[in-house]
């Protein structure tokens, strides 16, 4: 799978990568920067624009991270978390 260099580039204001969402905070999905089967898989997990997500826990090396998505706890790897753009609520 192609991995974009997402670490140096920060998204436009108010938006962030899901991967960066601090534990305990919530945000809303705005877009998925991926295509094909990965995109489909993310949507099957409930990750569609408008979905509210809460960061629940981090594993020791911050990869994977656990999120609450539409009532289920889902672990996402850093690579996946960096393909999902979110907007903080109230920003």
């Amino acid at each position: 799978m192609k991995m974009k260099n997402t670490e140096s580039v920060l998204p436009s204001c108010g938006k962030d990568y899901l991967y960066n969402l601090p534990v305990g905070r919530s945000a809303v999905v705005t877009s998925l920067n991926t295509e094909g089967i990965t995109r489909r898989r993310m949507m099957d997990l409930g990750l569609v624009p408008g979905t509210k997500i809460e960061a629940l826990r981090c594993s020791p090396f911050r990869d994977p991270k656990a999120f609450k998505i539409r009532g289920a706890v889902i672990a996402l790897r850093r690579e996946e978390g960096c393909q999902i753009l979110v907007e903080y609520e109230g920003d």
């Binding site: 089967i37 489909r40 898989r41 099957d44 997990l45 409930g46 998505i69 539409r70 009532g71 289920a72």
Partner: protein, 262 residues
């Protein structure tokens, strides 16, 4: 709307009811659903077997089979692994999908979690895309009640076009209604009118183009619309399966994906 558990103990029929015409002496029933929705608990309750249940390491990875009798009819029950999707990104999805698509159960029960129904409906719609012979079992209603979640079974059944049954499988509640809904759909005494997902015009046009060709290859054995959609996805597993199936009968020569859309 929103009457709490008005349909507790009843199944809300989503299709039309007609006279029982029993064609077979035994039926095969598949249990599908998202992970951890209580499929194995239902399987054990109905078959008296002891499939491992629980969060971890109880999860079902391969399918398990058992049987039961109801109203003098024999049913074979197949417990599938939990999946969020039938698009085969993992071993579990592949096992579940291969069985639903190519194992041709008489009826598929989709077990959904009442506490997060919305996320479960994705799989429900995917299953209804493959088969009209389905029953939606909304399980864990005891948990939902505790969380003060109300579900309108009648509305849900009307929207989905298939019977919807409420259960609390761990306490054995609602199972009688589940059995009767499964029997009704299997024997054909209920004919479902499942909700069909419609896609963008571009995709629907392509389906209209290739579906007749696929139907010519597989006949009525398999769902040609569903196969056409997978062909457009360039889903290699499905393409290979169809190829294998038709080998020796008709050479498979269908262009897929971009070629069709172009």
């Amino acid at each position: 709307m929103g009457l709490i558990y008005r349909f507790w103990g009843n199944s809300a029929a989503g299709g039309s009811v007609k006279k029982v015409i029993q064609q077979k002496t035994s039926y095969t029933i598949a249990l599908a659903g998202n992970p951890n929705t209580g499929k194995s608990t239902i399987f054990n309750a109905l078959t008296g077997l002891n499939q491992h249940t629980g969060n971890w390491p109880g999860k079902t990875v391969l399918r398990a089979e058992g049987s039961y009798n109801y109203e003098g009819i024999a049913f074979n029950l197949v417990d599938l692994p939990g999946t969020y999707s039938l698009l085969a990104n993992s071993v579990e999805e592949q096992v579940a999908r291969d069985y639903l698509c190519f194992g041709k159960p008489d009826t598929t029960v989709v077990v959904a979690d009442a506490t997060c129904l919305e996320r479960n409906l994705n799989l429900v719609l995917q299953v209804l895309e493959i088969t009209s012979k389905a029953v939606v079992c909304v399980n864990l209603v005891d948990e939902a009640k505790r969380k003060k979640i109300e579900i309108d079974a009648e509305f849900l059944a009307a929207e989905l076009g298939v019977p919807v049954v409420f259960t609390a499988a761990r306490e054995g509640r609602g199972l009688e209604q589940l059995l009767s809904a499964i029997t009704a759909v299997s024997t054909g005494s209920i004919i479902n009118t499942p909700y069909a997902v419609k896609y963008e015009k571009e995709i629907e046009d392509a389906v209209t183009k290739i579906e007749p060709q696929i139907r010519k290859l597989v006949g009525k054995e398999y769902n040609s619309r569903w196969l056409a959609l997978r062909f457009l996805d360039k889903d290699q597993v499905v393409i290979d399966a169809v190829q294998k199936w038709v080998t020796g009968r008709v050479p498979l020569n269908i262009k897929t994906g971009g070629a069709v859309l172009a």
